[in-house]
């Protein structure tokens, strides 16, 4: 069986003591930073990315995946214990998780979140191992026009699924694409939009954008409305084990959440956030006692937490097989791969099997580590949460500075990140989601290159995008998404789904 052979290669890499160690370290540090209120997985990864630059590629990606899982779990811990979502996908966990904590069931909520995530992660890993090789074969048939259409689909997906105003999301995508092509144009050698600045001729680094928009913007926003901060104190954790009754209620939700997350994670623009919202809605609809939701229903924690992990896992599939990020976290992973000198795309699966499979297997190990190390360490995370924000934020800012600086040893990048911080805060105040911008930013240069190649092939005839079958199908799917967006019924549903 190919599956076992591939998984064998993967575990061979992931179980090497050194890789186990970096996976452990990544999960630990990821949780440590992720627990801090107001710092989501993306900002955590951006801050910690430079640490991985000095590792060999396999270990670097393994550590980064560990950081991601850690950060996501850390975010859930904060959501449950202090009702402060570190990022949007744990906003759902807040609803019932915090109520459970107030009922004295914080331990059970945390345990169910970890075990549900682990189960979902296991299923996600198997799905990746089953479907990636076949999809990578499809990926090899992709030519320039197909890639371009795929990216159009990805961006439209990101717009449809962004919460908040659609028009603003469209604007953010265009702005991201524009920022992505700052620097030297590969084809003509002309420098673009550098304002005469030499440091910009290599383009803007993704870490600068991510730290500025997602990290600093959030910190400034947190500091400007201090009234809501830490309103009700930290819940006490007594027993970590869910009761029999809770267990019986939780496991079907875990199964459903895993299913929902696995499918939604594949969608462009999907991933963790959408999965957890969808799962919460489904659990509430299916429940015989919907009135318990919002008052500490364990299904409301188990479902979304499993769904967001499954979604996070399966969103690796388009990234690994096509080299196209479907959400900002994957954009970060692609950024890390490129820094390691690996060109993302379908060839990674065949040419670097140890890298691809090592990372897939390490995701599962990372999930296992979350259960093993994080549950016993809950006490430590609680201590961390009791440090006042006024002592924490200077440290977070400092880590941002050092993180950004060390990517290129450039102090200019630190100043640029500071400027994006101001912009990020302005975007928050104006109701513009930064995620579509970040996705556009990564896709900008790729899109331009593939558009140029496609148009060169067709001698300037745009019909090439509908004549090639793969491209035509992708554009048809895009058209359906746009139609959905315009339809009034879907619009009201969307509004409802994103209401917190």
């Amino acid at each position: 069986m190919d599956l076992f052979h591939n998984l064998g290669i993967g575990f061979g890499v992931a179980l090497q003591p050194y890789n186990l160690f970096v996976c452990f370290l990544g999960t630990l540090i990821g949780t440590l930073i992720g627990v801090l209120p107001g710092i989501g997985p993306l900002a955590t990864m951006a801050m910690l990315l430079p640490i991985t630059l000095y590792l060999p590629p396999e270990s670097a990606l393994i550590m980064l995946a560990g950081i991601y899982y850690g950060a996501q779990y850390g975010g859930s811990t904060t959501a449950i214990l202090v009702n402060l979502p570190g990022e949007s996908s744990s906003a759902v966990t807040c609803i019932d998780g915090y109520q459970m904590a107030r009922n004295g069931r914080a331990g059970a909520a945390l345990a169910v979140a970890a075990l549900g995530s682990f189960f979902a992660g296991t299923v996600g890993t198997i799905l990746i191992a089953l479907f990636s090789p076949a999809l990578a074969q499809v990926g090899l048939a992709f030519r320039a026009p197909d890639y371009f259409s795929l990216m159009v689909l990805g961006l439209v997906g990101a717009i449809v699924l962004a919460h908040g105003s659609v028009v603003k999301a469209v604007g953010m995508v265009f702005l991201g694409l524009l920022l992505g092509i700052v620097g030297t144009d590969v084809t003509s050698g002309a420098t673009r939009f550098t304002f005469g600045n030499l440091e910009l001729s290599d383009g803007i680094d993704f870490v600068v954008i991510a730290v500025g928009l997602f990290g600093l913007g959030e910190i400034i926003s947190n500091l400007s409305n201090r009234g809501v901060e830490r309103s009700a104190g930290i819940a006490k954790v007594t027993s970590l084990w869910p009761s029999k009754e809770e267990f019986r209620q939780a496991w079907p939700a875990v199964l459903r959440g895993t299913g929902i997350g696995s499918v939604l994670g594949l969608l462009p623009g999907g991933g963790a956030l959408l999965s957890s919202f969808a799962s919460y809605t489904v659990e509430k609809k299916l429940s015989k006692t919907p009135e318990r939701f919002g008052r500490g229903a364990i299904e409301g924690v188990a479902g979304p937490e499993s769904a967001n992990n499954a979604g996070a896992q399966t969103s690796f599939i388009p990234m690994l097989t096509l080299g196209i990020p479907s959400n900002v976290i994957m954009a970060m992973m692609i950024g890390a791969m490129m820094m390691q000198g690996i060109v993302p795309g379908p060839q990674v699966m065949t040419e670097r099997p140890t890298l691809a499979w090592g990372m897939i297997c390490s995701m599962w190990i990372g999930n296992l580590m979350l259960v093993i190390i994080n549950l016993p360490l809950i006490g430590v995370w609680i201590k961390l949460l009791s440090i006042p924000y006024r002592l924490l934020f200077p440290a977070i800012i400092l880590f941002c500075c050092i993180g950004v600086y060390s990517v290129n040893n450039s102090t200019f990048d630190v100043m640029l990140a500071a400027a994006f911080g101001i912009l990020g805060y302005a975007f928050i105040r104006l109701g513009c989601e930064p995620a579509p911008l970040a996705l556009g930013f990564v896709l900008g240069p790729l899109m331009e290159e593939n558009l140029r190649r496609a148009m060169l092939l067709s001698r300037g005839d745009p019909m090439i995008f509908v004549q090639r079958p793969i491209s035509a199908v992708l554009l048809a799917v895009t058209a359906v998404l746009i139609l959905l967006l315009v339809m009034p019924a879907f619009r009201s549903n969307r509004k409802e789904a994103f209401q917190e």
């Binding site: 028009v167 603003k168 600093l216 910190i219 006024r390 630190v414 105040r429």
Partner: protein, 148 residues
Amino acid sequence: MRLKSYRDFWAAMLFAVISLVFLWQSAGLAMGTAARMGPAYMPRMLCILMLIVAAVLFVRSLRTRDDEGVALNLRPMLIIPAAMMAFALALYPLGLVIAVCLSVTIASFSDKDSRPVEVFFTALFLSIFSVAVFAYGLKLNLPLWPGA
């Protein structure tokens, strides 16, 4: 005409200004043809699309009501980036230790509850921590002292 949504209006202005700046900056670049696109082709298309978005938002700001204000809290908005600027500017002449102390001190002004004694110890702790972890532990390329 009165504005009904300040958020939409200022978002429209932001998008419009950015796209005009980029259009102006693309002035010296070759446009090329559809088959052989020059460096200005895609950016100009994007600028025009962004201007359309700005126009739509502007129209909406006159028609659709939105009660959220856009008041910016200038204190953290200016002081946090200033703290980062200080770090960036101080790192090379003065080294990591002084840069850390400087940025922590400046950052503390963004919060009106900060206490001088706490700020002092935070700065002390963070400079020791970053020297130990980032300079020695991770061996990042950071100068420690002035003139290094």
